[in-house]
């Protein structure tokens, strides 16, 4: 397993976390190459289906980044996102998936450094818990 590299999917809100990632890039803050960013219009657009689809298709970790409370471009998208996220995480945990595999954070467009730090930290966490167990028993579903 030594050469295993995680595959991490990051759903980043266009108005904040995505801008934060951009800023991290222009300020040349390093973040791990395991991070694959998918831009979404709002964290509230991230359906539970998206997160599970990522896990099922081989993501070892899934991250949702949204605007800080009060800052959502669509007012309530991020509040909706966190309520859904908490419930989904409970369901995933009962279904045998490590809760650390999924994470939600508020990262604004000015937090480039924080974006890089949080990504590095998430990458470390996923490396510690290892590959995604979905489909581990080979039934391929």
């Amino acid at each position: 397993m030594s050469d295993w590299k995680p595959n991490i999917v990051v759903f980043a809100c266009n108005w904040c976390t995505y801008q934060g990632a951009d800023l991290a890039g222009s300020l040349r803050y390093d973040y791990p190459s395991t991070i694959n960013i998918i831009r979404v219009p709002c964290s509230g657009r991230v359906e539970p289906e998206f997160i599970v689809a990522a896990l099922k298709n081989g993501a070892d970790g899934v991250f949702v980044g949204g605007c800080h409370p009060g800052d959502c471009h669509y007012k309530e998208g991020n509040y909706k996102a966190i309520r859904r996220f908490i419930l989904l995480k409970r369901v995933l945990t009962s279904m045998g998936i490590e809760p650390e595999r999924v994470r939600l954070e508020w990262i604004s467009g000015s937090e480039g450094k924080r974006f890089a730090e949080v990504m590095a930290e998430f990458d470390r966490t996923i490396k510690e818990i290892g590959p995604n167990p979905v489909g581990r028993d080979g039934n391929g579903r």
Binding site: E47, V52, L88, S94, G96, P133, R136, N139
Partner: protein, 319 residues
């Protein structure tokens, strides 16, 4: 109709309730019976053997109704035989369509289930540790066999191709009448669809705030059915009873909310929904007022996936 429509029915991993839903048709059934020839209905209604079904020519049966999920080798075998013999195969009821109540077995391994069923239950006395085997020889000469008990529950479409799906646990008899007539008259939607009126339980529910000129407000409590009776005529979900009416097919006519019970989703998902439980999570969580309430929802997997776990994206608990 010149020729009678040939019908086959099989009760697989189900409870017989779906058989009853057809028998419950009473007058409607009497009306359609002259047009029907039941060539196979096992094990409940007709005395036709598996070998009789196996001997029928391929595609010689017009419609096959398959009720119940697939867990045993025998059920898998008959699913394949039905598929070969029937022109149209219908997953009849939510067990066949999505796994149903027995599908919650997918939260446990086969070993856990055997341990409970053959060792741990109070009434079990099994000093020799005997569990079902697919083959055993008695008195050195009689070979006995049992079907294999698979690792997990599967809905019918994970075993063979399915033409139509009908939800409900069981399908409501008034809807069964319509569905059977639709089949008889060949008025069917494109293959692969659910046979449904296409309305949600909320759409046909008298408690719906929209029909009372009211809007929906954020939900401010989480209640269980044991927490007292809900207010007369008011939306259960609005009061905090976790009703899945918004995302469930309402062909039952909102049977449960009529008698103060929140919808648990037996009708199956509204068209276009891939994973019932995940959509339920999205809908219910989004309508709660705050995060603390979301944490109070009891046993979310068994609430949201009560009828659909084997057909969900994850399908079962990950080992």
């Amino acid at each position: 109709m010149a020729d009678k429509l040939k019908l086959a029915y099989f009760l697989s991993g189900g409870c017989g309730g779906c058989d009853m839903a057809i028998v419950d048709l009473s007058e409607t059934l009497v009306d359609v019976l002259p047009n029907l020839e039941v060539v196979f209905w096992a094990p409940t209604v007709a005395d036709v053997k598996y070998k009789d079904l196996e001997a029928m020519p391929d595609k010689s049966i017009d419609v096959g109704l398959y009720s119940g999920m697939v867990r045993l080798g025998e059920q898998e075998h008959i699913a394949k035989v039905m598929r070969a013999k029937c022109k149209v195969l219908v997953a009849w009821g939510i067990c066949a369509a999505l796994g149903g109540i027995p599908g919650m077995g997918n939260m446990h391994t086969k070993e856990e289930i055997y341990k409970t069923a053959y060792f741990d239950t109070y009434s079990t006395d099994n000093p020799d540790g005997i569990t079902p085997q697919t083959r055993c020889v008695v008195d050195g000469k009689y070979e006995l066999t049992l079907p294999e008990f698979y690792e997990y529950v599967r809905p019918l479409n994970q075993v063979v191709d399915v033409d139509y799906y009908i939800g409900g646990c069981p399908p409501h008899h008034s809807f069964v009448g319509e569905a059977i007539l639709a089949v008889l008259q060949g008025k069917l939607p494109p293959p692969g669809s659910w046979i449904t009126g296409g309305k949600a339980v909320c759409d046909v529910c008298k408690r719906n705030p929209a029909t009372q000129g009211e809007g929906r407000e954020p939900i401010t409590a989480v209640k269980r059915t044991i927490d007292g009776a809900p207010a007369e005529g008011k939306c259960l979900l609005q009061e905090g009873y976790l009703c899945l009416g918004p995302i469930t097919q309402g062909d039952c006519g909102a049977l449960c909310p009529k008698v103060n019970i929140p919808c648990r989703g037996c009708g199956g998902p509204m068209p276009g929904v891939k994973d019932f439980g995940l959509r339920a999570i999205a809908a219910i969580a989004a309508s709660m007022e705050n995060e603390e309430l979301v944490d109070q929802i009891p046993s979310p997997v068994k609430l949201f996936y009560r009828y659909s776990l084997p057909a969900s994206m994850l399908g079962r608990k990950v080992k």
